[in-house]
């Protein structure tokens, strides 16, 4: 039996005005376990707290009930008080007789009556309280960043800068991501490569950072501070540590007509290739679907020309297992497929392109060496039509488009239009828009400059149909402000395709037990207050995997995610919330119901040998809760038919005791 002390607070007149605090203290004296009961004007004051401490010593209290304001207000205060008095802080229960009693009831009689009942419930509960100690777990001081685009790069650099080792896993042969494909960046128009490639070099040279390129994560086990991750390094048939990136093999390879992914298929690359000049790591990769040697054992030219001897046709996929304390998801985005939007004739004409293709077309390292030429005939286009929101804000077309706004298109389209007019003043540039959305520092100014200084023709309306005819693209569109239907003979049409999360994100989310929204964007632990954390502890979000965002936003989120990771890795031990679930193995059925409802993947199963009363042994499957992962929601406790699963601090018996006390 506990020795319970009851402390009824007046809160000045806040409580005492409607509740007869003396009567409450008096009534609770006769409750089971109560050995001391008193009242005081301000229990949270230093004097009030001292009163509690003294009472603990004087009356040898093992449990404390404070009848006062909401536990959301002062539970922490009184727990500290209890700890200072040498009690376990979780031996404190609060009866909320202010917010949920004196403040909402006017009648002294019923207010006092209710306060007594709430006090009784708290006494009943504290009688069943047990000292709780938060669990501790060690932290592996290494971080994993999944995705090597600007988000992953920035996160890795920031983590490494704080002194922690970090690994980047990138599925492409090089890091750099989408930003490496861009030409200029808005709103400053500095060249993407000029600001990105130095960061890529920093990554390569940082001895705290390891890059696993051409690799993917295939398995994640464990929990915050202690993840066990399997990384599959795909065979690139080139020894990474030997290859110098000289490119001799690339020049000699006879299989030259493979669509070049980096230029979105607008030109070709050989079977052995380095994606672009500033690739990191700058090593060659053999495309096994294109290489003659790998397909039918004929050729071997690259091995012959490689003076370093880096080519290895026998290389196999390699699996690496590594421990991490934190994982950052930075899997990024892709433009959606334009296949189902053929009213814009993307499949019918080479001169209808996406904005990302336009980036490559204007990039000095792109297929046309930076000259804006029509893909169909290499001629200079004189009339260019940009179509915004292709597949974005598309509610009715769930099969092909996205309901959300892709956020970045307004700005990059303004950039494309402006740059075109700047470089080729003889070109007519139309931008069809539904709304121009340019919130952001210097963003609206940028868009207005495109209109006012560069003469880009912005038309409020949408393109309805594009008809390739002869060399022209007949664009039929509406100009809503002029209330006209426009017919424009264009030479080039650029579609601002909606963006979507990378396809690798969904299986990764399953591995990480991280939640996603219906669009496959990762969800945040809190949309406003914890925007870079996943609800799964130890998993953080960086960049467009969480939602569409531009480079400045991505970089700031990358930094934020890094600081969260650093905060985690800086700890030697993690202290958990002690109010976690626990399973009574003696009556656990091992039925898996609890694991089904656990949002955190905190429950696993093991076979355990039990000694039976008749001295035989029996092996049974039982649930085991990882207290470091459990967040204490209690979903599992209700789904457990035998009641084996219970929640510390909110145990079945405790809640039922409260129910009984209230219903008595």
């Amino acid at each position: 039996m506990q020795r319970v002390g009851v402390f009824v607070c007046w809160c000045g007149s806040n409580i005492a005005g409607t509740v007869d605090v003396k009567a409450v203290a008096e009534a609770l004296k006769s409750e089971p376990g109560v050995v001391f009961s008193t009242d005081y004007q301000y229990m949270c004051s230093q004097a009030g707290q001292d009163m509690i401490k003294n009472a603990v010593k004087e009356h040898n209290l093992t449990g404390i009930v404070v009848c006062s304001c909401s536990p959301r207000m002062h539970e922490a205060t009184f727990r500290k008080t209890a700890a200072a008095a040498g009690l376990n802080p979780y031996m404190v229960e609060i009866a909320n007789i202010r917010e949920q009693c004196s403040w909402v009831h006017k009648d002294m009689l019923s207010g006092t009556e209710k306060a007594i009942i709430l006090g009784k419930a708290a006494v009943a509960k504290v009688n069943l309280n047990a000292p709780l100690t938060p669990g501790e777990s060690p932290v592996t001081k290494r971080a994993l960043v999944i995705g090597g685009g600007i988000a992953g790069i920035q996160t890795a650099l920031d983590i490494a800068d704080a002194g922690f080792p970090v690994d980047i896993v990138e599925k492409k042969p090089t890091i750099g991501g989408k930003m490496a494909q861009l030409d200029k960046t808005f709103p400053t128009l500095d060249c993407a490569a000029c600001i990105l490639t130095p960061k890529m070099v920093d990554v390569a040279q940082n001895d705290k950072i390891r890059i696993f390129s051409y690799s993917e994560v295939t398995d994640v086990q464990g929990f915050v501070g202690n993840f066990d991750v399997t990384i599959k390094k795909n065979a690139r048939y080139v020894k990474e540590d030997i290859c110098t990136g000289c490119g001799a093999c690339v020049d000699k390879c006879p299989m030259k007509r493979i669509p070049n992914e980096f230029n979105l298929g607008m030109d070709n690359r050989p079977a052995i290739y380095i994606p672009f000049a500033q690739a990191v790591p700058k090593v060659a990769t053999i495309d096994p679907n294109a290489c003659n040697m790998l397909k039918n054992g004929k050729c071997g030219l690259c091995a012959k020309v490689c003076t370093a001897g880096a080519i290895d046709y026998t290389q196999k996929d390699e699996y690496i297992e590594e421990k991490y304390g934190a994982i950052v998801v930075a899997t990024g985005f892709n433009p959606i497929s334009m296949d189902k939007f053929d009213e814009f004739a993307y499949s019918q004409s080479k001169d209808v392109i996406t904005s990302l293709e336009f980036e490559r077309l204007t990039n000095a390292a792109g297929p046309s060496a930076g000259k804006l030429l029509r893909p169909s005939d290499g001629e200079h286009p004189h009339t260019i039509v940009f179509v915004q929101c292709v597949g974005s804000r598309c509610e009715s077309c769930a099969e092909k488009g996205k309901e959300y706004c892709s956020k970045i298109c307004c700005m990059y389209t303004a950039k494309h239009a402006m740059l075109t007019r700047d470089k080729y003043p003889d070109t007519e540039v139309y931008v069809f828009y539904i709304d121009v959305r340019t919130p952001g520092k210097n963003f609206d100014e940028f868009y207005r400059r495109a209109v006012e200084e560069y003469g880009v023709k912005y038309v409020k309306g949408m393109v309805g149909k594009i008809t390739p005819e002869g060399k022209k693209l007949k664009v039929q569109a509406s100009d809503l402000l002029a209330n006209k239907q426009l017919h424009i003979d264009a030479d080039l049409v650029v579609l601002a395709a909606a963006i979507e999360p990378d396809k690798s994100a969904r299986p990764l989310a399953t591995m990480l037990t991280a939640s996603m929204d219906t669009n496959d964007f990762f969800t945040e632990a809190h949309p406003k207050l914890r925007p870079v954390e996943s609800p799964t502890a130890g998993v953080f979000l960086s960049g467009a995997c969480q939602g569409p965002k531009d480079i400045p936003e991505t970089v700031s989120q990358a930094g934020a995610a890094a600081s969260k990771v650093i905060g985690l890795l800086a700890k030697d031990k993690l202290t958990g919330n002690p109010c976690v679930a626990g399973s009574n193995e003696l009556i656990c059925n091992g039925c898996s119901s609890c694991a089904n409802v656990c949002p955190y993947g905190a429950i696993s199963y093991e076979d355990k040998e039990f000694r039976m009363p008749d001295r035989t042994t029996k092996v049974r499957r039982i649930a085991v809760v990882n207290p470091a992962v459990c967040q204490g929601c209690g979903a599992c406790t209700v789904t457990c038919p035998s009641g084996a699963m219970d929640l510390k601090g909110f145990a079945n018996l405790q809640i039922m005791a409260e129910v009984d006390a209230i219903c008595k």
Partner: protein
């Protein structure tokens, strides 16, 4: 009535014992009366020939027995499962309640089992023996000189009249013909109750449940109730079993019993079969099944191994608890 015979079953079991596929057999043994058949473990061909029975009273669902018996048997255990039993079998596998490798399942066809109470209603008490010939049943009693011949169809158990499936959803081999899932009218009685006024429903259940003697047979027979320790037996659960003080307490027990198996109950009907007070307990289970089907889409527990039960699942578009009634009211 049954198309499969005792001899066929013994032959199959003997063969499997002889070639060491299994080391014991879970089958039906003779009880005190012909209709009082008891699940029994047989370890040899001799034991089988001596004590194995098979008749229209072999309704017991053996799936549940595997939780204890499969582990206890040295090698594999042979179990004969009727189609409805296989659903429970899968459900228990889903819940990892026994090792599939330890069990050899022979699926047997079922023509529906008899309800002894229906027999007694026709022939009276004092039954000495019951024989079966084709569609007829021959009953001799203490009080009749001549055996009474009754139509086996007339004494079919309620659950067999509303049989949901003649298809085995789990087996290692099948004896006899395989059947199909059946469109049954098993929810009609639930619907009839739903159509009553709340007062009528209350009266109905008060009448039914007040007969409960808390013998726990329903729970003990239920293949979904396999907890290592039932909350009603656990002194630490706070709801430990007490003898009933009045007609109200049964509700708590019966609601929780049905709730604990909701989404997991395969509707095998064992609860009602074993109830000595003939309380239609299966209606509580069927109510949950019917609701789940209506709220969250058709779901048959045990249809496949590894299914996720509806109450440990959700969609973001689920209906609100308050809408449960709006729906029904608008349908009415």
């Amino acid at each position: 009535m049954q198309k499969i015979t005792r001899e066929q079953l013994i032959e199959k079991a003997s063969a499997l014992l002889s070639n060491s596929t299994v080391s014991c057999v879970l089958g039906w043994g003779m009880g005190e009366f012909d209709y009082d058949v008891t699940p029994t473990t047989f370890n040899s061909v001799e034991e089988l020939e001596k004590g194995f029975v098979f008749s229209d009273f072999c309704g017991a669902n053996f799936s549940k027995y595997l939780v204890k018996k499969a582990a206890a048997c040295e090698g594999k255990i042979l179990v004969f499962l009727k189609p409805c039993d296989t659903y429970s079998f899968n459900q228990l596998l889903t819940e990892h309640r026994f090792d599939r490798e330890k069990v050899y399942v022979v699926g047997i066809p079922c023509e529906g089992m008899a309800d002894i109470n229906k027999v007694k209603a026709i022939c009276g008490e004092g039954i000495l023996s019951i024989g079966s010939k084709g569609d007829k049943m021959t009953v001799t009693t203490l009080y009749d000189d001549e055996p009474v011949s009754i139509d086996a169809k007339e004494v079919l158990a309620e659950r067999c009249l509303n049989c949901k499936s003649k298809k085995h959803v789990a087996f290692d081999e099948l004896l006899g013909d395989e059947g199909d899932v059946i469109e049954s009218n098993r929810f009609d009685e639930v619907a009839r109750l739903e159509a009553m006024t709340p007062d009528e429903r209350f009266a109905f259940w008060q009448n039914e449940l007040s007969r409960c003697i808390r013998c726990n047979a329903c729970r003990d027979a239920c293949p979904a109730c396999t907890c290592e320790k039932c909350v009603f037996d656990n002194p630490n659960s706070g709801v430990e079993n007490k003898s009933p003080a009045n007609s109200f307490e049964e509700k708590l027990f019966h609601i929780i019993r049905a709730y604990h198996v909701a989404g997991r109950c395969t509707d095998c009907g064992e609860c009602s079969r074993v109830c000595p007070q003939n309380i239609p307990l299966h209606l509580l289970n069927r109510k949950f099944i019917k609701d789940i089907n209506e709220f969250y889409g058709e779901y048959q527990a045990g249809a496949e191994e590894g299914q996720r039960a509806p109450l440990v699942d959700y969609t973001t578009e689920d209906l609100e608890p308050g809408e449960v009634f709006d729906r029904r009211d608008s349908d009415a």
